[in-house]
């Protein structure tokens, strides 16, 4: 038997070597299997000099979805994006009960694998790998881990990552084989052949039918939505979104960026924190900040709320007298002046005042830095006619906030006090034994 002539040119060993090289050839795709979150501007940069449609769409994308996670384009990127997105979404909910429920649900899908004739001794290693990621997620939640680094590490371990992806592929394939009526119409080969040649294989990229089946059969049961944003040459200034899970419109959503032949994960901006603290802090911040005072920026309304405070307006130092009072003194009382005409101690002993002696601690996270400044310079002390006016927010009147009322005992040591010797309208207080 003679070899064909083209085979004689090379020795058997050389042929074997070349065949081996050819068999083992894998395109060299750089980067990790799953990247950390990065700015979507990188994608916009990639397309900056490309087709204007792409340039426009990617610029818009960088604003609507500021963060991206890049998947390695090794033939599994779509599968990996969904599997990673699933675990990341689950982790972000920080709900151990839900993780446990999901673990139970995913394991219950083993019955689908059995129904389509998969052998347990073959698929159990894939299920184990998935179960291990669930366990890691629970541990991470339990340990209060801040970010998804553990998931990135887990998915960058190629062997385990392949096992998890194989598990997701098998669940999808079983789902499709058990629900052929939903998918056969979209497929040209018979569904069984499609599953064995496109879904169950180790390196076949997911297509639209497969992705829909993955969402229907595996992801939707978690209550997570899946949305694809298509970056293509179609009309429009932004990528075209497509909701794959119309049944889960309001839940957590995994967002995928599709570019022909490749999937990555996209993230919308974080919603503004639903935390009232900064607003409350702003109140404190204002009362502890002298600057607007010096500029006379605050004004004071004697409003119904204020009038309703017992004894407040009854005091000669307040009200129609035009005497200024400081809402600031609670934080930064004026130093005791040795020359001060000492007023009788009971002068401001109103019920409110005893309350006000509980000095509010400025919150640590006050947005306006608390200025540990001295009292306002005397030169800027407002004169009587345009005396500082205070506008009290109704919130201040709420019982739990009343301790932040500007009526505080150190006020009597402030030059804003008419009884203070540095006040422009200084009027010594006369002790009247029968007064009050």
């Amino acid at each position: 038997m003679t070899n064909p002539s083209n085979m004689n040119a090379l020795s058997q060993d050389e042929m074997q070597r070349f065949q081996k090289l050819s068999n083992e050839f894998e395109p060299d795709v750089p980067g990790p299997l799953v990247s950390p979150k990065q700015s979507s501007h990188a994608i916009a940069m990639e397309y900056a000099n490309a087709d204007p449609t792409f340039a426009t769409k990617t610029s818009a994308l960088a604003i609507t979805h500021p963060m991206t996670r890049i998947m390695k384009g090794d033939g599994n990127c779509g599968w990996r994006a969904v599997a990673f997105g699933y675990f990341e979404t689950l982790f972000n909910l920080r709900d151990p009960m839900r993780v446990q429920r999901e673990l139970d649900r995913i394991k219950s899908l083993n019955t689908l694998l059995d129904q389509v004739g998969q052998q347990e001794e073959l698929y159990e290693i894939f299920v184990d790998a998935t179960e291990d990621i669930f366990a890691q997620t629970l541990t991470a939640i339990h340990n209060g881990e801040q970010d998804e680094t553990f998931l990135i590490n887990a998915f960058n371990d190629e062997y385990n990552s392949s096992a998890v992806i194989t598990h997701f592929r098998l669940m999808t394939s079983a789902w499709m084989r058990l629900n052929p009526h939903r998918y056969q119409a979209f497929l040209s080969p018979p569904l069984d052949q499609y599953c064995s040649q496109r879904i169950e294989t180790v390196r076949t990229e997911i297509d639209e039918v497969g992705l829909q089946a993955l969402v229907d059969g595996v992801i939707e049961g978690a209550g997570f939505g899946v949305e694809i944003l298509y970056l293509d040459r179609s009309e429009g200034d932004s990528v075209t979104p497509h909701q794959l899970s119309p049944n889960c419109p309001n839940g957590a959503t995994i967002r995928l960026l599709y570019r022909p032949g490749h999937y990555d994960i996209l993230y919308q901006p974080d919603p503004p924190p639903v935390n009232m603290a900064p607003i409350v802090n702003f109140q404190y911040g204002m009362t502890s900040n002298y600057t607007p005072w010096d500029q006379g920026a605050l004004s004071f309304d004697v409003n119904a709320h204020l009038m309703s405070i017992p004894n407040l307006m009854a005091d000669s130092a307040f009200g129609g007298m035009g005497a200024p009072m400081s809402p600031l003194s609670s934080v930064s009382p004026a130093p005791q002046s040795p020359y001060r005409v000492s007023p009788p101690h009971d002068l401001y002993q109103t019920p409110m005042q005893s309350h006000a002696q509980v000095q509010p601690m400025p919150p640590v996270s006050a947005p306006t830095p608390v200025m540990p400044s001295a009292p306002p310079p005397m030169t800027t002390l407002p004169n009587r006619s345009e005396g500082p006016q205070i506008r009290l927010n109704p919130l201040v009147m709420k019982p739990n906030l009343s301790h932040s009322l500007p009526v505080t005992s150190p006020f009597k040591n402030s030059p804003y006090n008419q009884a203070h010797f540095q006040n422009q309208d200084f009027e010594p207080i006369h002790w009247e034994p029968h007064g009050r």
Binding site: P32, D147, S162, R203
Partner: protein, 180 residues
């Protein structure tokens, strides 16, 4: 932006972590491959399929096996015993094993070095295939060659034109290997 900073801060330790993990990951992978192959061996021994057998090589390395297929009846290979070698990659089953005919064989989809052209051993490989399913596929390939993409064009031609002639070529090429 806040996350950008977070990510930059995280990236360096992550990279370090990844390199540190690699060596231990490698070892775990080998353990996983071994575990999987042991399970396959167990299954082959407990529920053998007629006409096929496989066993790890005597060198104690579970990553290389020798298998045999008995030629199916009503094919030109009827009664012949064909030996094959399996070499499993380190990431098995996420890459297919390299399978070669050791016994010289005349077949449209096998070349003269014993290399096989079969899609499930290449891009259609699935992690749920195993030694048994590969051997069963090869057994059926003996009776149903894929003449659309032959490695041995002459064999494909003769298969289609003259079955008697084909069988003569098969028997001429066949040579039983000594049992080790």
């Amino acid at each position: 932006m806040d996350y950008t900073m977070e990510d930059t801060q995280n990236s360096a330790p992550d990279a370090l972590e990844a390199t540190k993990l690699n060596s231990s990951t490698q070892r775990n992978d080998t353990q996983s491959v071994t575990k999987r192959l042991q399970a396959e061996l167990m299954q082959l021994m407990l529920s053998p399929s007629p006409g096929i057998s496989a066993f790890p090589d005597a060198d104690g390395n579970l990553l290389s096996w020798t298998a045999t297929i008995t030629g199916p009846t009503e094919t030109p290979y009827d009664g012949l015993t064909l030996k094959l070698s399996f070499a499993f990659p380190n990431n098995y089953p996420y890459s297919p094993p390299t399978v070669l005919f050791k016994t010289p064989i005349y077949h449209p989809n096998v070349d003269f070095s014993g290399r096989i052209c079969l899609d499930i051993l290449k891009d259609k490989w699935s992690a749920v295939y195993n030694v048994q399913s590969v051997l069963l596929s090869l057994q059926s390939l003996l009776g149903e060659p894929n003449n659309a993409s032959p490695l041995n064009a002459q064999a494909a031609e003769i298969w289609d034109s003259d079955q008697e002639e084909f069988k003569r070529h098969v028997l001429a090429r066949h040579k039983d290997l000594d049992d080790e």
